[in-house]
């Protein structure tokens, strides 16, 4: 489609001949090249923006949806989970399996059955980290932490049991 070209002024013709448009672009990259060596401001200036992971660990936000964890009461070191199964119901992907068990406790002198948590299976390979389970938990037991390094060497390693969820996994942190 041929555009109707307006008549160019002498200044515009000179700019076109001397390829000022290309020179401007080249000047900007040259400024970046020098800025990479001398400018410290990466966000607003021309400095280097790279974070050299794993030497430098990123600042992860407090609300980050990372690896799941089952919190425990800090004083009694008992799990906070009441085996209510709300997290498993809330999960869109059916990753969570809450296996309760009945224990006998004495309430007002009478023996009662109380449901407590036996085993908690969380399949992180199916999880989409939507945090619906975290929102559903009434006791703030299930929490998504800031851990994002979830890789493992086998598919079975993605299925976490209660112990892994409470204690955390053994991982190697590379720092150099």
């Amino acid at each position: 489609m041929q555009d109707k070209t307006p008549k160019l002024t002498l200044m515009q013709k000179l700019k076109r001949f001397l390829m000022i448009d290309l020179v401007n672009g080249l000047g900007l990259t040259l400024k970046y090249n020098l800025g990479a060596l001398f400018d410290k401001d990466a966000v607003a200036g021309k400095g280097i923006y790279t974070e050299q992971y794993p030497k430098v660990r990123p600042d992860v936000a407090p609300r980050f949806h990372g690896a799941p964890r089952l919190n425990m009461d800090p004083e009694t070191h008992d799990t906070l989970c009441i085996a209510c199964n709300l997290c498993a119901i809330a999960c869109p992907e059916d990753c969570i399996d809450v296996i309760p068990m009945d224990v006998e406790i004495i309430v007002a002198g009478k023996p009662r059955k109380k449901k407590v948590l036996d085993e908690f299976i969380f399949d992180t390979s199916r999880c989409m980290f939507c945090a619906l389970c975290q929102e559903a938990c009434p006791t703030s037991c299930l929490e998504l932490t800031q851990d994002f390094e979830l890789a493992t060497y086998s598919r079975a390693g993605f299925v976490w049991n209660r112990e892994m969820l409470e204690q955390g996994r053994e991982t190697v942190k590379y720092t150099s």
Binding site: D21, L22, V43, Y49, A61, F64, P92, L132
Partner: protein
């Protein structure tokens, strides 16, 4: 897999003057798994067929078996670059069908974060488009800006890309403490960065040679195909859902809509850059006008819209993204239909490419700004 209309067998290279070339699903420039089968005469494209479906995950069918609040994370995965907008369509559809009124603070926060997402999506578009045409440096610069936005999303929502941002009735958490400061710092730096991209591209004679007059589609043709978003506005049609049927807080905010003229790639490029500038303006205004108050409305225990159907659409970064929801009164929807903008925009590809050279096909796919997650669902 539908039957590809161009015959893909060919005896020898020298038999006929036409050659069939397959830009296969794995290709650096097809922005996802798109297969384009080209029929070439030398280097000129004489016919083109798209083969999609490589990323079909059955999202609409999955949605029929989930509860309304659980479907929101699936919407993020459609147009994974503009997850916040996608989430907005869904929650607004459900809210409007149920007649819920969302608190104004939530509306404003939705506006701010959706506009940030629009900027992020356009930055990625610019990055990949420039990469395809050869200016690799712009890719890295645009991704740096995008990184700042993703940091804001991470601090606000907890995830960078597929955020699961909104809940039916508002949002889970109020804006985090430094939200205002972070957003304002971003909008302060952003116009300079846009000027930098424009310095390298907008007047560059090589860029102009590669984009002016390529992939032209006129206004009436665009309307006939059903294009929306910057592809439509690049052809001069003044249609923006944020203006014609405002949602969230757009009714109270003052902004302009950029319109192109010739409907070629260069116009669409300029329209998207201008849209980024307008988005920055919207964010600043919304931050100034942000009211106080709660961020979530009171919801019934189980979200159950009344029986019936409803269609709602918003202006996503790629075009009109809509949701058609049919409810049968139960806790799970009867049918969820996504109106994906990229799917409709992709129909224009054949018309835009025929007559151009092979190297232009890559530029045209870039300018339509398609995301296969949306096309295939």
């Amino acid at each position: 897999m539908h039957q590809v209309e161009i015959a893909t067998t060919q005896e020898t290279l020298l038999d006929s003057p036409e050659m069939v070339l397959n830009m296969g699903p794995q290709h650096p420039s097809t922005h996802g798994v798109l297969r384009v089968v080209l029929k070439l005469d030398g280097e000129t494209v004489i016919d083109l067929d798209c083969d999609i479906g490589y990323l079909h995950r059955g999202m609409e069918k999955i949605a029929e078996n989930r509860m309304y609040t659980m479907i929101a994370p699936y919407w993020d995965r459609l147009d994974y670059i503009a997850a916040v907008s996608n989430g907005l369509v869904w929650v607004e559809t459900v809210e409007q069908m149920m007649g819920l009124s969302v608190p104004p603070r939530a509306h404003y926060l939705r506006t701010i974060l959706t506009e940030l997402n629009r900027i992020a999506s356009h930055l990625l578009w610019l990055a990949t488009h420039a990469l395809d045409i050869g200016a690799v440096t712009v890719l890295l610069w645009a991704l740096r800006e995008r990184e700042e936005i993703l940091k804001i999303f991470e601090r606000q929502f907890g995830a960078r890309l597929t955020c699961h941002a909104w809940r039916v009735g508002g949002m889970t958490n109020d804006a985090y403490d430094d939200f205002d400061k972070d957003c304002r710092q971003f909008t302060k730096n952003f116009p300079n960065r846009l000027d930098e991209y424009e310095t390298v591209l907008s007047e560059n004679r090589i860029w102009l040679s590669r984009t002016v007059g390529i992939g032209v589609i006129s206004g009436p043709e665009a309307i006939a195909i059903g294009l929306s978003g910057p592809a439509l506005r690049g052809s001069g049609v003044a249609w923006d859902i944020r203006k014609s049927r405002p949602y969230a807080a757009y009714a109270d905010i003052d902004f302009d809509v950029p319109l192109g003229e010739n409907g070629d790639t260069y116009d669409r490029y300029l329209v998207r850059i201008a849209e980024m500038r307008q988005s920055q303006r919207i964010i600043d205004q919304a931050l100034d006008k942000l009211p106080d108050g709660p961020v979530v409305a009171k919801l019934p225990k189980i979200v159950k819209p009344p029986v019936g159907d409803y269609y709602h659409s918003i202006e996503g970064p790629k075009g009109e993204i809509g949701c058609y929801l049919v409810s049968d009164g139960s806790a799970q929807p009867y049918r969820v239909r996504v109106r994906p903008p990229s799917f409709v925009n992709l129909q224009a590809l054949k018309q835009m490419c025929i007559g151009h050279l092979v190297a232009d096909v890559v530029a045209i796919i870039g300018t339509l700004d398609i995301v296969l997650g949306e096309i295939d669902r």
